[in-house]
């Protein structure tokens, strides 16, 4: 599987070559992060929101000569980030990105976190403020298994969202279409889109077959 196929379709006439920048292959990088790393490119400034254990930032630093910061709330993740030498700022994304100046970053990443944010619009606006481009990934609530569960009268529980309705951190679930409508409302121009299932791009009926959506956007 090449990076180009992973990159999925391109939007608005902009090419999405997904060409791999100079550097080592992603190796064990989580596949969706590998795709995001390809979109980001090399030698740029990156902000990773909800950076987890710093996997993406460490890879971008070591293989792509990127510089950047991660924001993370969980103690255990912050610890691993420090072990990796990743610049991690322990903070709650809900309290905003005040620490970061306008247009400080070439790319701002919010990976599989959007659906857990209380202030969805605010974090997206903040991403657009501090970065030249934003990259967002989220689980597709419109996946057919979810629809089937709803038809059966139950809230869906899936590998992407393995929680019961009463204890889920995922409070703002959406479909790719929903996200695109919000992005338009916020004045974002979507420059790349990938709809994935099992880490492969989905060509046929992606809105019900993709488990994960990844978008790159800019503010014009």
């Amino acid at each position: 599987m090449s990076a180009a196929t992973l990159a999925g379709d391109s939007r608005n006439g902009r090419a999405a070559p997904g060409t791999r920048a100079a550097g080592a292959p992603p190796g064990n990088l989580r596949p969706d992060l590998s795709l995001i790393a390809d979109w980001i490119g090399a030698d740029v400034r990156v902000l990773d929101l909800g950076c987890g254990d710093g996997e993406l930032l460490a890879y971008l630093r070591d293989a792509r000569a990127c510089r950047g910061y991660g924001v993370e709330i969980a103690d255990a993740h912050v610890h691993v980030c420090v072990q990796r030498g990743v610049n991690v700022i322990q903070a709650d994304l809900e309290s905003g990105l005040r620490m970061f100046a306008d247009r400080m970053f070439d790319a701002v990443v919010l990976s599989q976190t959007l659906q857990a944010m209380h202030k969805t619009e605010e974090i997206l606006r903040e991403m657009a403020r501090v970065g030249r481009q934003g990259i967002v990934s989220f689980p597709n609530f419109g996946h057919w298994r979810h629809l089937l569960a709803l038809l059966g009268g139950r809230m869906p529980v899936s590998p992407q969202m393995p929680y019961q309705w009463y204890d889920t951190p995922n409070i703002h679930l959406c479909t790719p279409n929903d996200f695109e409508i919000l992005a338009a409302k916020l004045g974002f121009v979507i420059t790349r889109r990938a709809l994935l299932a099992e880490n492969h791009p989905v060509k046929w009926l992606p809105s019900v077959r993709a488990t994960l959506a990844v978008y790159q956007f800019e503010v014009r």
Binding site: Y69, V78, H79, V82, I89, A91, M99, F100, A101
Partner: protein, 382 residues
Amino acid sequence: MRAGSVGVVQAQSLRFAQPLALASGAQIADYSLMYETYGTLNADRSNAVLVCHALNASHHVAGRAADPPNSVGWWDNMIGPGKPVDTARFFVIGVNNLGSCFGSTGPMSPDPATGKPYGAHFPVVTVEDWVQSQARLADALGVERFAAVMGGSLGAMQALSWAIQFPDRIGHCVAIATTPRLSAQNIAFNDVARTAIQSDPDFHGGNFYAHGVVPRRGLRLARMIGHITYLSGDDMTEKFGRSRKGSNGSDDYQFGYGVEFEVESYLRYQGDKFSEYFDANTYLLITRALDYFDPAKDFDGDLVRALAPARCKFLLASFTTDWRFTPARAREVVQALIANEREVAYAEIDAPHGHDAFLLDDLRYHNVVRAYFERIAQDIAR
């Protein structure tokens, strides 16, 4: 040797004959600094770590002192073999600051001009002055560049000042429970403490040594007010609540003004203990150094420009219940470092112990410091 301890340590003293120009414009002609070292300086002298102390601490950072016997270093839980700052890998230096009262030249020392204790005449020194004097100690010990300079509270201010004043001599700055400058509230507490000392009749304008007395009541009060600010409200509730001293299970008030609550007893004990070993003039001097620290002052209050000279990497940590130097203050420093595109990791530790948390055992906090120093050790080994 106790496992995990550097064991018994002997403090040393080093005399500096060349005058040190101070920020105030005054100078100190001749001074000594007390210090301790732990671990071994490696062949390429790249593994040295300087530990800077806060208000009432000293050069005795780790291990057990030879004198007084068995007194344990103030950061012994952080520094030692196998501890977060591992003395099997790092050569650690603890230094007593100029103007303090644990053996380095200070207000208690004889003024060479008169032969009598400096007392009130000891010059006011700043955090920047301390850093300059510490750099001379580093020169004398053959340390051109520190792997890290670290400290908590006032010690963290010194670490930040190192990063600004000597960008080529410091690889990492580890600043715990820090602030870029004191708030009005912080200065107010310091002023109450100083007023307590200065209004004690035994203070004699700072020249109490000649009278053979110590302004013990003032020192005790200063320590009591200070101590309240080091703890969190929840921490005091947890420790003392409304428990009563020697009440023998009785819930009856005594309807008097003696020590009745446990918290009163505790604060007085802390105050009494402190007044027996700490110098009143040193208390004034160190709290004033705290008040004056403000690296942004020369840059129209712009901390970004103040930190622009720094080249090292940074670890900052703050504690959620620290209302003396709140996490918001530490974040100001982090923000200015990010604006300068400096490498920085920042941990905000959810700990109940207020400002004092930087001295206590907290696994999350210690794990982060340990992980950071392991990275430093890897960098050195490369």
